[in-house]
Symmetry: D2
Subunit: 334 residues, 4 copies
Amino acid sequence: MTTRIAIIGAGLMGADHARIVAEELPGAALQVVCDMDAARAKAVADRLGAKDVGSDPEEVIARSDVDAVIIASPDFTHAPLSLACIRAGKKVLCEKPLSQSSQECLAVIEAEQAAGARYVQLGFMRRFDPSYVEMTAALAAGTLGRPLMMHNFHRNLETPAAEFTGAMAITNSAPHEFDVVRHVLGTEYTSISAFQPTRSDALVAPVVMVLETEGGQLVTIEINNNAAYGYDVRAELVGEAASISMNHVAYTRLDRAQRQSTTFEADWRGRYFDAYRQQNRAFLRFAQGEAFPEQGASAWDGYAAAVVAEAGVTALASGVKTAVAMIDRPEVYA
Amino acid sequence: MTTRIAIIGAGLMGADHARIVAEELPGAALQVVCDMDAARAKAVADRLGAKDVGSDPEEVIARSDVDAVIIASPDFTHAPLSLACIRAGKKVLCEKPLSQSSQECLAVIEAEQAAGARYVQLGFMRRFDPSYVEMTAALAAGTLGRPLMMHNFHRNLETPAAEFTGAMAITNSAPHEFDVVRHVLGTEYTSISAFQPTRSDALVAPVVMVLETEGGQLVTIEINNNAAYGYDVRAELVGEAASISMNHVAYTRLDRAQRQSTTFEADWRGRYFDAYRQQNRAFLRFAQGEAFPEQGASAWDGYAAAVVAEAGVTALASGVKTAVAMIDRPEVYA
Amino acid sequence: MTTRIAIIGAGLMGADHARIVAEELPGAALQVVCDMDAARAKAVADRLGAKDVGSDPEEVIARSDVDAVIIASPDFTHAPLSLACIRAGKKVLCEKPLSQSSQECLAVIEAEQAAGARYVQLGFMRRFDPSYVEMTAALAAGTLGRPLMMHNFHRNLETPAAEFTGAMAITNSAPHEFDVVRHVLGTEYTSISAFQPTRSDALVAPVVMVLETEGGQLVTIEINNNAAYGYDVRAELVGEAASISMNHVAYTRLDRAQRQSTTFEADWRGRYFDAYRQQNRAFLRFAQGEAFPEQGASAWDGYAAAVVAEAGVTALASGVKTAVAMIDRPEVYA
Amino acid sequence: MTTRIAIIGAGLMGADHARIVAEELPGAALQVVCDMDAARAKAVADRLGAKDVGSDPEEVIARSDVDAVIIASPDFTHAPLSLACIRAGKKVLCEKPLSQSSQECLAVIEAEQAAGARYVQLGFMRRFDPSYVEMTAALAAGTLGRPLMMHNFHRNLETPAAEFTGAMAITNSAPHEFDVVRHVLGTEYTSISAFQPTRSDALVAPVVMVLETEGGQLVTIEINNNAAYGYDVRAELVGEAASISMNHVAYTRLDRAQRQSTTFEADWRGRYFDAYRQQNRAFLRFAQGEAFPEQGASAWDGYAAAVVAEAGVTALASGVKTAVAMIDRPEVYA
């Protein structure tokens, strides 16, 4: 039984998802590629051999020849389209964020509660990256002792847009860290503080956050959207007995001109290529009727990321430590 | 059009290939799993959802519902079954070695010449490993200058069998290095010398080989089948201007008990997981009618590996430098 | 002209200084070893061939056969004995801290101002460590662009005393980081915030601090006195164009039992062996009449470290960001 | 009792030794700097505060105000001047090689035998480098099991002279490897084979040697005098149970322009700075009457290096494995 998948959004991320479905997911078929821009949809569909194209997301989601959906359209459409999928009774892999508004996330949560089941898997693909998987395993094995701190560094070569602000660093870039740290530590945040140095130019300065958790851990996160030297994600999980750190992975090193060097990727697509593949394979099994993926992120995780991002924006603007207050976890996410 | 693939041999390697076909190759179907041991064939077929099983390789190769073949049966069957595939006009991915006998390799070469086309792709999967791909790219880009030397180290945790000898290190383990070095340097060997230290126990001692090439390069290869500490493959390509080395890839590092450490794999299956996947995807495209894969190893490459291994065994036994003499490259491998 | 040096304090640090003077400083003589515990002084003096011993620091400082002084006695004696050296007109290398009280530091500063010259060099030896020297050089060369952030991690195997507190982590361990970061960045702090996770046992939990500087930089400092895995100091200086990080230095790596590993030192004495030697050689030249060492720490630097530590203790206790307020820099430290 | 040291030869190495004596060896005095070129001797003497200068080595060695000697004059003078020191009854630290002629080395050995004591310490400073010290310690501790192989790589940025030949790579550069490997393994060589790739230019091509030892080990040595990318020495000691490798030591790493990099030294002087210091301190203790340094190289070691280098030159010229034949070890080196 082939699972027929519709891709909503044929931009950079949508095209990547379409390629994974077409080339990396035996058991799945690339059924429809949907984009407001019909030409863009057609280009992706033709290149990857999709059955059909569409331009109206709701219509595509409702089609009887579509079994499951991947949403990679603009951020503001994520929650409404996820709700459409729930209404249509179809499993959906929604790119992060579910919504930048925690209220809107709650609407999705309520819809799943009402339906009595989960439909939405969120695209927090880092949970499938071997670095974080090994950290989680080391913690579970007791190698580290009780966790004390997690330090995180997220660096981009440069910001896509000139109008990028510190608040956007928190709402757009940091959610990956907010989510994967919660996932690795298995706890929720209680507070967030935010700091920012000054740059000598017009680019957005890094943001450094310190978060406290229910489990008594400290979490630090640096978001540096204009690191200039490369795409670089680092993390260290410090336990009472030992510490585990993400390595800078490179297959070769070069000795040249009195330097020994390895390369940095230009963006996240090379670094997390395999994490996306693993995530989408997990989603396919979910769409085919298996239980929600153990490593997967749910609408609840999308809500958690939105709440802490909202508190982070407040903390940055006010300069004071801000509480992170979440509703009780609904039963459907138990 | 789905390409229906038969797997000959349901041992460790055969089961791995069957899994890749079933789970990692959209466009391919796991049609038949064939093994002398019917129960073993059935176990793999059932686990991975193969259409059918078989116990007679030649019969399976001839089946009209089999479009292409992967041979992972015992080494001595590789050449005869490859010939059977050529006779049947079917593309075959044959595990290395094509044969330990260069004469037997020539029989396959002659069959392909007679047919006027290549059918056999050999399972020298390292050519698809990112380390070697990056080395080749650095050479092509001129980053290294002209190549001078290539140093190679192949270490296993331990030998599978107690009767493993130095000659077997050359004929069974070294062919991977023989092949990938030829591939990276784009040249043939002219001589080989072999040396061996002594161990204090009954295990096979390492073999160190020095090879000279037509291009004027020196190649060193250490095969250490009982390295005891882990599965570890290293390579360095030294050019006139710079040098590129394979990294020890690990996603995390652990700080514990006054040591900072990363792990070694226990065997090649974890290390080359992705190389096998890429190789088999290239084979699928070949089986579907595309040209022979640019990175792929042919019967000619299997012959080259056999010739140098034969010379290496002589060199080890005699203690003197031994010439590597090959026939002229037939047109079908131009 | 041999410079005759008296060592005040014959404990661990005092004995180390005595050894450096006796064995690593041509041009210096180990004149007197002084300790309240006469037997301890004698043991060190005998082992290293000191001319004489003493038990009264002020008396030793005043001796006419003593040209310069190294203070390694308990912390509370540092400021009074430094003042005694200034009164005696003798150059003094005083172990850190000058005092945990910024007021007491000011008394030393006033004495030097009154004398119109510097006498006190502080034992912030990290300024002489090649890691920080290379960072400073990279900054000066413009390799990094303008500095944005400096991240610092200070980890001990375990705390020497069971009664060690978070406040003590700030006042006893952090001053090394407070000082070397000011030195590398060439700026003063304006605020400090402090955070602490919780441990499951009675040991002191790590302290994480975020500091802001006059230059607009953010500085993070983790002090983990019970890291359990080893003595480990890390630092990263992030500029607008590039980033430079301290390496974990090890001369060899071991491949064993499926792990590749390097070792951590048990404490700071191995790690900073050469920094102490370079620092003391710089002090000798200062004592011999050369200008105050360019890399050296002065009484002003001791005051700066005390002020920020006091603010840090307040920040940790109150949970709020605390201003770091210093007097104007006196002319003698211009 | 200050030990008055004369330096013979005021070139690069001689000036380095003079500096170590003047600045790094408490208990030693830089008594005389001697060079055929009086101006060169004077320049070094003045810069470092030597008592006197000289131009006739034999005369300087015989001076009553000279207690010990360091020879850093041209290679061909090493053996004759060492003999002069033995005649004068003075301890001498002689730069390597003792002589490129094993016969001439034997003359020094005979002189020491006749005198019934050792006078000559050879400047094989690598024995004092922490990398090799840690290897030796790991072997002694049983961490590695019995040694099986040692792989060595010696790379220079470029050759000092255009007329440098492969034979010179063996006689001038390789002796450091010949010596330190013998020292670490505690055995003698029985055979040597030598190989050389071809370069596309007029520079000397690398030489790769394979040596067999009395202990049954294999030793590989690559000498690449025109590596172009930097000064780089590597070594790996492979045991039956584990392996230990020299690290590329760097205090910092730089993240810039999509590369993470560390630097290579331009020559051996930075890399082995501390090894020279430790070696010369050991020599001072020897000159002051202590036993011959445990780690130090003797005239016997100089002879061993010369014998294997002579065999290596033969092996390279003939293309065949060549025996390494030494006299029995005289009692004075027992």
